[in-house]
């Protein structure tokens, strides 16, 4: 959580300095829920994060340098300068690279899980994340229904951060709670306070365990608030102060307070952790900044892998 916060603060500052191609989207306030997913998944599982899941990615094992290289457009990154920011991933390692279209990753996770089952590989879980806005898409419905019909070990994590870009919940859905969706698909679901780290760890852990046991798709809805704008270009001034008062706890702060209260950490220890994270991030950013840019003249501009079917005819 801390590393994620520090890394995203750095990326945001690089964005403000004009050093990043494209947008920066951070998960401020959502780290507890996201990290719970990353921590409960194992190597060999599948994870399809959404835009606010830096914490989950890092906990799942994504190297910090992958994130920095992708944001800075380094040709050495997993997306080789071809795609940016939150769209990175390493499909071979079970970290699926999201496309922008909300909800689209659910059925892809289903396909991966099905393929594992067809190959006789069991004991696998696939988790994917979405915001409240993403639940309004047809892809969300089709994907969840498909997972339910195939009884796949899908864990669907929904961060209800109250706003989809600027659109509040009451313009997004008309059911009482997003948990009601579970009933509609015939799957199990739980709803939690997403600013409470312990609640997140327990609920997501339980859902992952149930999916692993073969109880089919699991839905977890976390109530929280995005403590920032939609992206770094957005000041979030539309966020209602009453919503802020009700849901706006900072999960990082409450987690740190808990560590201190329980006597599991000292203030100095926390300070040291933060300094270590800052050091790590600064070193990696400095490394990546020396890596240079892609050369369009050396680039392989073919979009398919079958060399004998390349369209040679690109210029008329």
């Amino acid at each position: 959580m801390l590393l994620s916060r520090v890394l995203e603060e750095k990326l945001a500052s690089l964005y403000r300095a004009g050093k990043i191609h494209g947008g920066v989207f951070v998960g401020r306030g959502q780290e507890a829920f996201s990290v719970a997913a990353g921590l409960h998944l194992r190597k060999g599982d599948v994870f399809a994060p959404s835009i606010r899941d830096m914490a989950g990615r890092l906990a799942f094992g994504e190297p910090v340098i992958d994130a920095v290289r992708t944001y800075l457009g380094s040709p050495l990154g997993p997306m080789r300068s071809r795609d940016g920011n939150v769209h990175r991933g390493r499909p071979q390692d079970g970290l699926l690279p999201m496309i922008s279209h909300l909800g689209s990753m659910i059925s892809v996770v289903n396909g991966v899980l099905f393929a594992r089952r067809l190959r006789g590989i069991t004991d696998v879980v696939g988790a994917t994340c979405l915001g409240d806005g993403g639940t309004s898409t047809g892809a969300f419905h089709e994907g969840l229904n498909q997972a339910a019909v195939e009884k796949l070990p899908l864990v669907m994590l929904i961060a209800n951060n109250r706003y989809a870009y600027s659109t509040p919940n009451d313009r997004q859905f008309a059911c009482r709670s997003l948990l009601d969706k579970a009933v509609g698909y015939g799957i199990e679901g739980v709803e939690i306070d997403g600013t409470d780290l312990i609640a997140c760890l327990q609920a997501v852990g339980g859902a992952v365990a149930r999916a692993r046991e073969g109880r089919g798709p699991q839905l977890v809805v976390a109530n929280l608030l995005r403590l920032c704008g939609h992206g770094e270009h957005d000041d979030g001034s539309y966020i209602d102060s009453r919503v802020k008062a009700q849901h706006g706890r900072d999960c990082l702060k409450t987690s740190e307070d808990m560590l201190l209260q329980e006597g599991w950490m000292t203030a100095a220890g926390l300070e040291e952790l933060r300094n270590e994270a800052v050091q790590q991030v600064e070193t990696i950013v400095a490394t990546v900044q020396r890596e240079g840019a892609p050369d369009p003249f050396q680039h392989d501009w073919n979009a398919i892998s079958s060399a004998h079917l390349h369209e040679l005819h690109t210029e008329a």
Partner: protein, 321 residues
């Protein structure tokens, strides 16, 4: 023995399933029912667990295939009708088409599109979408016109590591027959000279090849020798074979069943005009369906799409230019 275009497609799938345990079929009603057109008849019994009925969710069906392809399987997706692939459009063009480019991980899947007009099918069961998919980088778009090609190209579609949009024409399903399945095949990406000629080249693909051949027969009675080139795949597009034919004949008519605005025929004409201007004795022409949704009544439908008659008319006009 005689085998139809549809049977060739079923045989190709049976062989792909038998030869490669990574292959599976996913689509609506493809299981016990054998598919709306029976292209997967009996396959579920022969390959239990690998011919799977999907919920009516074209988007999720295709996303599912992408996920399975990432895992190294080789899914064949059947869209009940090409028209419904518009619901899967996002997954096809954004997910499947971009995966290899973005991540270097190949996306070997086949989306079978029963496409094209049949009498009485109307606006939602008749569309020809090859142009739309060919527009997107990252996709291979096959349009077999013969029983032999339907079989061999589908096998190649399953074998290659890229997403293939396999456009199989519904009108050819039952009417087109061959004596036997081929043991050797022309490679995908190469166009075929379907008929040799001297006075004009007609470039066509899928069902339009047969309309072009019939038009060429008709024009032969008037003394004209028409060359017909079957593109076989529209992406990649074999410009070389087209250009070589135009070099022989000096005239080009390109015929497609999809709509006129942009598209495969426009692409062929543009390439020939840009690169083969000096070869041409007359302006290159194209003939498409009318620029309206596909009509329901057989009379209207017959006038909506190019037919041997309208192809021959367009050819006569071009021969006089």
């Amino acid at each position: 023995m005689s085998i139809t275009y549809l049977e060739a497609i079923r045989e190709a799938q049976a062989r792909a399933l038998a030869d490669d345990p990574r292959v599976f079929i996913y689509g609506e009603d493809v299981g016990k029912f054998g598919g709306a057109f029976k292209a997967t008849k009996n396959l579920q019994e022969q390959f239990p667990g690998r011919v799977i009925d999907a919920p009516i969710s074209e988007d999720a069906i295709t996303g599912f295939a992408v996920g399975a392809a990432i895992e190294g399987l080789r899914p064949i997706v059947e869209m009940q009708f090409a028209d419904f692939s518009t619901v899967a459009f996002n997954q096809i063009v954004n997910q499947a088409a971009t995966l290899y480019w973005r991540t270097n991980v190949p996306c070997p899947l086949v989306v079978r599109l029963p496409f094209g007009g049949t009498s009485g099918s109307g606006p939602f069961h008749s569309q020809s979408l090859e142009t739309i998919y060919a527009h997107y980088p990252g996709l291979v778009v096959m349009t077999p016109a013969t029983v032999e090609d339907a079989y061999s190209m589908l096998l190649e579609a399953v074998a290659i590591d890229d997403p293939v949009i396999f456009c199989e024409h519904k009108l050819l399903y039952y009417h087109l027959k061959a004596d036997k399945l081929p043991t050797e095949a022309m490679p995908v990406g190469k166009a075929r000279l379907a008929r040799e000629g001297r006075d004009m080249t007609i470039v066509a693909y899928s069902a339009m090849v047969h309309e072009a051949l019939a038009a060429a027969d008709e024009l032969a009675t008037e003394g004209w020798l028409i060359e017909v080139v079957d593109l076989r795949s529209v992406k990649p597009l074999d410009t070389d074979t087209v250009m070589a034919s135009v070099a022989r004949t000096g005239r080009l008519l390109c015929v497609g069943e999809s709509w006129p605005w942009g598209g495969v025929t426009a692409e062929v004409v543009a390439r020939v005009a840009a690169e083969g201007w000096g070869l041409l004795d007359a302006p290159p022409q194209r003939l498409n369906a009318k620029d309206t949704p596909v009509p329901y009544h057989p009379n209207l439908w017959a006038a909506h799409r190019p037919t041997a008659r309208s192809v021959a008319q367009a050819a006569r006009r071009l021969l006089c230019m």
